[in-house]
C-alpha cells in the first residue's frame, strides 16, 4: 500500500519508512527530513504530511485551506518537486527531503522570490502566500528565465481569493532577473 502511494511522485522509500505489512491505527515512529534536519516523530498512519508539519513539528507556515489538493496552499518541496502536503501521508515521505516555507530563506537572507514578493506586494491576507512562494521558487530552480505564462502555469493550481496573481507574476519575473544579475 505504502509503495503504491509513494510511487505517485516517483520515488519509493517505503522500505526505509516502515517494514511492517500492517501498521496503525496507533501512532508509529518515523523520521522526516525537514529543512535539512532529521526529525523523529510519532504519527498515526492517517496523518497527512501537512498535519505532521503543522502539528507535531510546529511548522505552521504550511497552510491547509481546502485539505483536498484543490488550492495548493499547502505546497512544499519533496526533494525538488512541489507537492500538496495535504494529499500525502506523513508515512509516505520516506527518505526524501521536505522543504517548507520556513526552510527557504538562508538564515536572515530571504530567497529572491520572497524579497520580490514583499517589494511587489504579491500578497494580501498572506494565507496562500507560503504555497505561492514555494511554487514560484521551485519554478526558478527549474527555469532561470521564465515568461509570464510560465509563472501563470506554475501557480495555476493555487487559489488566491485576494487576487494577487498579477503581482505574483511581476514579483517572480523580477526575482528571476535579480538572480541572474
Amino acid at each position: 500500500m505504502i509503495e503504491t502511494a509513494s510511487a505517485i511522485i516517483g520515488t519509493v522509500e517505503a522500505k526505509e519508512a516502515n517494514t511492517e505489512s500492517v501498521i496503525g491505527p496507533d501512532p508509529v515512529s518515523i523520521t522526516l527530513r525537514v529543512n535539512g534536519v532529521a526529525r523523529i516523530l510519532q504519527v498515526e498512519p492517517r496523518m497527512t504530511l501537512a498535519e505532521a508539519l503543522r502539528g507535531s513539528l510546529g511548522l505552521t507556515g504550511t497552510k491547509i485551506a481546502c485539505n483536498r489538493g484543490a488550492c495548493s496552499a499547502c505546497t512544499v518541496w519533496l526533494d525538488d518537486v512541489t507537492v500538496c502536503s495535504c494529499m500525502m501521508l506523513a508515512i509516505e515521505v520516506g527518505a526524501r527531503n521536505v522543504t517548507t516555507i520556513e526552510g527557504l530563506a538562508v538564515g536572515d537572507k530571504l530567497h529572491p522570490v520572497q524579497t520580490a514578493f514583499v517589494e511587489h506586494d504579491a500578497l494580501q491576507c498572506g494565507f496562500c502566500t507560503p504555497g505561492m512562494v514555494m511554487s514560484c521558487a521551485a519554478l526558478l530552480e527549474h527555469q532561470s528565465d521564465p515568461t509570464a505564462d510560465d509563472v501563470n502555469a506554475a501557480i495555476s493550481g493555487h487559489i488566491c481569493r485576494c487576487g494577487t496573481y498579477p503581482h505574483v507574476v511581476a514579483a517572480t519575473l523580477a526575482a528571476a532577473k535579480a538572480r541572474k544579475a
Binding site: G58, L59, R68, A70, C125, F127, A153, H158, Y165
Partner: protein, 781 residues
C-alpha cells in the same frame, strides 16, 4: 461661519488633482491637526511603501488563528444537519461522551420543541464536541445519534415564491431584522416565504414612463456566491475564571469582544480578542458567528482552551454567502438621454437569513426624477447569507448598468456620452475620461459587428458606494524616551495593509521612516479600532492616528523648544530631526529630543472626529460621509462563439478613495476587487441539489474560481481627490473596486456578440444559449 472657542478656520486642499486642485475653507474642531498637504508635498503618505508585515508573511512566520496553539488545547467540531428542513426529535450523545478523547459535548438545538429544534438548512449546527484531537472529535460526532422528523423544503428562489411552497418559517419564527449581519428593514410583512416589499418611491414613476420616448425593460439574475476565504473561519477560545481570551480570524476584534461580552454576560474588561494574521474575510468574518459561540461554550464546559476551525465544506455551506437575486428593471428616457423614470422589483434570497436587497445604485447613481423600488427577501432552506464585498450594490449594478447601456443603444448615443449626460458625479466624469483614453474606447465597434469565431468587444460600467466611517474608533500613539515610536489600535489587518498605512501616517507626523514605527494592532487591549468591512477602515483609523501623533508631537516639541530656545510653534519634525522652522540650521535629532522626556514615554489616544462638514447620516457607531465613492471600469473581452468561453483580456479600473494613502497597497486591493468581479461574472455559483438540499460543489474545485490564467491585465488608475473632510481625507477602496466589473464584462460581451446575457455567471453554456446554439438551460439558485 465665524470661529468660536471650540473651532478654528483652516484651508484645505480640495478637488480632483487631474482636473484642478483648489482650496476649501472649513471650520474644524481645535483639537484636530492642521490640514494635511496634497500627497506631492509629503514624504511618506501617498508613497508606494511595501507592507510592514510582508517579511513575516513570505517566510511563514505570521501567526494566523489556525496556527495558534495553547497548552492543553482541545479541538472542537460541529455536528451538522444532513437534511434541509427537519425537527430534531432526539439527540443521543451517550456513546460519544464515552469516547476516550472527548472532554465536552453539547447539543446546539433543543430536541422535541418544534420552535427551537428545527433545522432549516443542510449544515445547520446540531451538536458540538471538544476532544483531544480533530480526529477524536470527528470520531465522537459519528457516535452521536440524531432522530429527525423530515419536513418539506424548498431551495429554489422561484419555487419558494409560489404560494404553495413549503414554508421555511412561520410568522413567529422568521427573523425580523439584522439577522444576517447585513441590514434588512424591520417590520415588513411575511407572505409564505416572501418578506416585503421594502419600498422606495420618488416623484411619479407612472407619469415618468408616460412621458418617456424610449422604455427598456428586462429581467436580471445573479447567483449565490460564497466568500471562499483561504483561511477558514477559526477561533481559539480560552475561558478562564479571570476572563475570556479569544483568538479569532475576524474582521472586527472590537465588535466580537462586544458580542462575547453580551452573549456570555461578561464585563468588557474581562474579554480580550486577538488576531495577528487574518486569512481573508470579505464580509463573512464580521461577527462572532454560531461557530464562535460554540467554541466559547465548549471551552467553558471543558475548562480548557478550544480551537475550532471549519473545514472547507462547512465554509461553503455555513459561513455566509452573497445572496442570489432576481430583478425586474424598467427604465424610461427622453430622446436626449435624460432619464424619466426607473422602476425596480427584486426578489433575493439569503437562504434562512435576511439581507438580499440590491442596494442603492439604481436609486442614486443617475439623475432621474421618478423612481420606485420594491425589494423582497425570499426564504429558502439554505445556509444564511451575509455581507459580501459590496453587498447589495454588486448585484444591483449588474442590472442597472446593463439597462443604461440598452438605453444608450436605443437612443444611438455612446454609453459614455449618455452617462456624461445623466451622471452628475464629477468624480465619475473624470474617471470615464481617463479610462476611455486608457482602454482605447474610440476603437469600440458597434454591437455584434466583429466577425469570425472569436469576437471581441469593449464595455464599461460604473459603481457607487458610500464613503463609510466608524465613529467609535480610536488609536494610541506612544513615543518612548529612547526615540522608539509605536501606534496601537485593535484594528485588524485583513490583508489590506492597514498597519503599514498607520505607520506611514505616524512617520509623516514625526518626520521618521516607516520602519521606525512599530505597529501593534489586532488586540482589544488597545483602543478600539474600526471593523474591516464597509470599506471604512482607512477612512476611520488614519485620522485618529494622525490626530494622536500630532498631539504627542506637541508634547515632544515642548521639550525640544526648551533645548533649542525656540517657541514650540516654530518647530517642525523632519527627516529624523526637530528643526526651527525659520532657521533649519538650528535643530536636534529626534532621539536627542526624546531623551529629554521627563517620563519613560509620552502618549496620546485620539478618536475619529466627525467629517468637517458633518456626515450625511449616522447609524449608531457608524456614519456616512457627504460624498460617495465612485468608480468606472472598462473591460475588453474575447468571446469564443463556438465554445462559449468568455475571456476577459483587460480591465481598466479607475477608482476614487479620496486621498490615496499607499498606491502599492491600493493597487493590490483594486486588482483583487476586479478579479473577484471577473470570477463572479464568469465562474462562481453555489449549486444546491433540488432533491436533497445539499450543496453539490462545497469545495474549491467544483466551485469555480478565477485563477492565474483567467486573470486579465488589470490597469489600476487612482484619482487623487481631496475634500478637506478629515485629518487625512482618506476613504475606502475594497468594495468599490468590485462592483462595476461584472456589468462591464457583460456590456463588453454584448458589444462582442450582439446578444445580451442577463444571468450570472456567464458560463460557456449561458453564452451558447444566448447565441441560440444550445437550448435554454433551467435557471438555478
Amino acid at each position: 461661519m465665524a470661529a468660536d472657542a471650540t473651532t478654528r478656520t483652516e484651508t484645505f486642499p480640495s478637488g480632483i488633482v487631474s482636473v484642478a486642485l483648489g482650496e476649501v475653507v472649513r471650520q474644524v474642531p481645535v483639537d484636530e491637526p492642521s490640514p494635511l498637504p496634497p500627497n506631492a508635498l509629503l514624504a511618506v503618505i501617498g508613497k508606494p511603501v511595501p507592507r510592514q508585515n510582508g517579511r513575516a508573511k513570505v517566510t511563514g512566520a505570521t501567526t494566523f488563528t489556525v496556527d495558534v496553539t495553547l497548552p492543553g488545547m482541545l479541538h472542537g467540531r460541529i455536528l451538522r444537519a444532513p437534511l434541509p428542513h427537519a425537527v430534531v426529535r432526539s439527540i443521543d450523545s451517550s456513546a460519544a461522551a464515552r469516547h476516550p478523547g472527548v472532554c465536552a459535548i453539547m447539543p446546539i438545538v433543543s430536541p422535541g420543541d418544534s420552535a427551537t429544534a428545527t433545522v432549516r438548512y443542510v449544515g445547520a449546527p446540531v451538536a458540538a464536541v471538544a476532544a483531544v484531537s480533530v480526529a477524536a472529535a470527528e470520531e465522537a460526532l459519528r457516535l452521536v445519534r440524531v432522530d429527525y422528523d423530515s419536513l418539506p423544503f424548498v431551495v429554489d428562489l422561484d419555487k419558494a415564491c409560489e404560494p404553495t411552497a413549503p414554508a421555511v418559517y412561520d410568522s413567529a419564527s422568521a427573523p425580523m431584522g439584522h439577522a444576517s449581519g447585513f441590514p434588512a428593514a424591520p417590520g415588513l410583512p411575511l407572505h409564505g416565504n416572501v418578506r416585503g416589499p421594502a419600498t422606495d418611491v420618488r416623484g411619479d414613476p407612472t407619469q415618468g414612463f408616460a412621458q418617456s420616448d424610449v422604455v427598456v425593460e428586462g429581467e436580471f439574475r445573479t447567483q449565490v456566491q460564497t466568500h471562499c476565504c483561504l483561511e477558514p473561519h477559526a477561533i481559539v477560545a480560552d475561558w478562564r475564571a479571570d476572563g475570556l481570551t479569544v483568538y479569532m480570524s475576524t474582521q472586527f476584534t472590537a465588535g466580537v469582544r462586544h458580542e462575547l461580552a453580551e452573549t456570555f454576560g461578561l464585563p468588557l474588561n474581562s474579554v480580550r480578542v486577538i488576531v495577528d494574521g487574518m486569512g481573508g474575510g470579505f464580509g463573512s468574518k464580521s461577527s462572532l458567528g454560531n461557530y464562535g459561540r460554540i467554541a466559547v461554550a465548549l471551552s467553558r464546559q471543558a475548562r480548557a482552551p478550544v480551537r475550532l476551525v471549519l473545514d472547507r465544506k462547512e465554509e461553503q455551506m455555513d459561513s455566509g454567502n452573497r445572496p442570489g437575486t432576481w430583478q425586474h428593471l424598467k427604465i424610461g428616457a427622453k430622446r436626449d438621454g435624460s432619464l424619466a423614470a426607473i422602476s425596480l422589483t427584486s426578489y433575493g434570497t439569503a437562504g434562512v437569513a435576511l439581507g438580499a436587497g440590491i442596494g442603492n445604485v439604481a436609486q442614486s447613481m443617475y439623475a432621474c426624477p421618478n423612481f420606485e423600488a420594491a425589494q423582497h427577501d425570499v426564504f429558502i432552506n439554505a445556509g444564511p447569507g451575509c455581507a459580501m464585498r459590496a453587498p447589495g450594490n454588486t448585484p444591483g449594478a449588474w442590472a442597472i448598468e446593463q439597462a443604461i447601456d440598452e438605453i444608450a443603444e436605443r437612443l444611438s448615443i455612446d454609453p459614455l456620452a449618455l452617462r456624461d449626460r445623466i451622471d452628475l458625479s464629477p468624480v465619475r466624469r473624470e474617471e470615464r475620461r481617463i479610462g476611455a483614453e486608457r482602454i482605447g474606447w474610440q476603437r469600440r465597434h458597434g454591437p455584434g459587428t466583429d466577425s469570425g469565431p472569436i469576437r471581441r468587444g469593449l464595455g464599461v460600467a460604473q459603481s457607487l458606494w458610500g464613503a463609510n466611517v466608524q465613529i467609535n474608533c480610536a488609536c494610541e500613539v506612544r513615543v518612548m524616551r529612547d526615540g522608539s515610536v509605536e501606534v496601537r489600535s485593535s484594528v485588524q489587518d485583513i490583508g489590506t495593509g492597514i498597519g503599514t498605512v498607520l505607520a506611514q501616517v505616524v512617520a509623516e507626523v514625526f518626520g521618521l521612516r516607516v520602519d521606525q514605527i512599530a505597529v501593534r494592532i489586532g488586540d482589544t487591549e488597545f483602543p478600539a479600532g474600526p471593523p474591516s468591512h464597509g470599506s471604512r477602515t482607512t477612512a476611520s483609523i488614519t485620522p485618529a492616528a494622525r490626530t494622536a501623533a500630532c498631539q504627542v508631537l506637541q508634547l515632544l516639541l515642548r521639550e525640544a523648544a526648551l533645548a533649542l530656545n525656540a517657541a514650540p510653534g516654530n518647530l517642525i519634525a523632519r527627516e529624523g530631526r526637530i528643526l526651527v522652522r525659520d532657521d533649519p540650521s538650528r535643530g536636534m535629532s529626534f532621539i536627542d529630543a526624546t531623551a529629554r522626556l521627563r517620563t519613560d514615554r509620552i502618549s496620546a489616544v485620539a478618536s475619529r472626529g466627525d467629517d468637517y462638514s458633518d456626515f450625511r447620516r449616522r447609524m449608531g457607531d457608524a456614519a456616512m460621509a457627504q460624498q460617495d465613492l465612485g468608480g468606472v471600469q472598462f473591460a475588453a473581452v474575447a468571446v469564443d462563439t463556438e465554445t462559449g468561453i468568455v475571456r476577459v483580456e483587460r480591465v481598466v479600473a479607475v477608482q476614487d478613495c479620496g486621498r490615496p494613502m499607499n498606491p502599492l497597497l491600493i493597487e493590490s486591493q483594486v486588482q483583487g476587487g476586479v478579479l473577484m468581479g471577473v470570477s463572479y461574472a464568469l465562474f462562481e455559483e453555489r449549486i444546491l441539489d433540488q432533491h436533497t438540499g445539499r450543496m453539490v460543489n462545497p469545495n474549491l474545485e467544483q466551485y469555480k474560481l478565477a485563477g492565474s490564467f483567467e486573470t486579465p491585465a488589470i490597469d489600476v488608475i487612482l484619482l487623487e481627490n481631496y475634500q478637506g473632510q478629515s485629518a487625512t481625507d482618506a476613504y475606502g477602496i475594497g468594495e468599490p473596486a468590485s462592483i462595476a466589473t461584472a456589468p462591464a464584462i457583460a456590456n463588453a460581451v454584448y458589444n462582442a456578440i450582439g446578444v445580451r446575457v442577463r444571468s450570472l455567471p456567464m458560463t460557456p453554456a449561458a453564452i451558447l444559449t444566448a447565441l441560440g446554439k444550445v437550448p435554454l438551460r433551467k435557471s438555478r439558485t
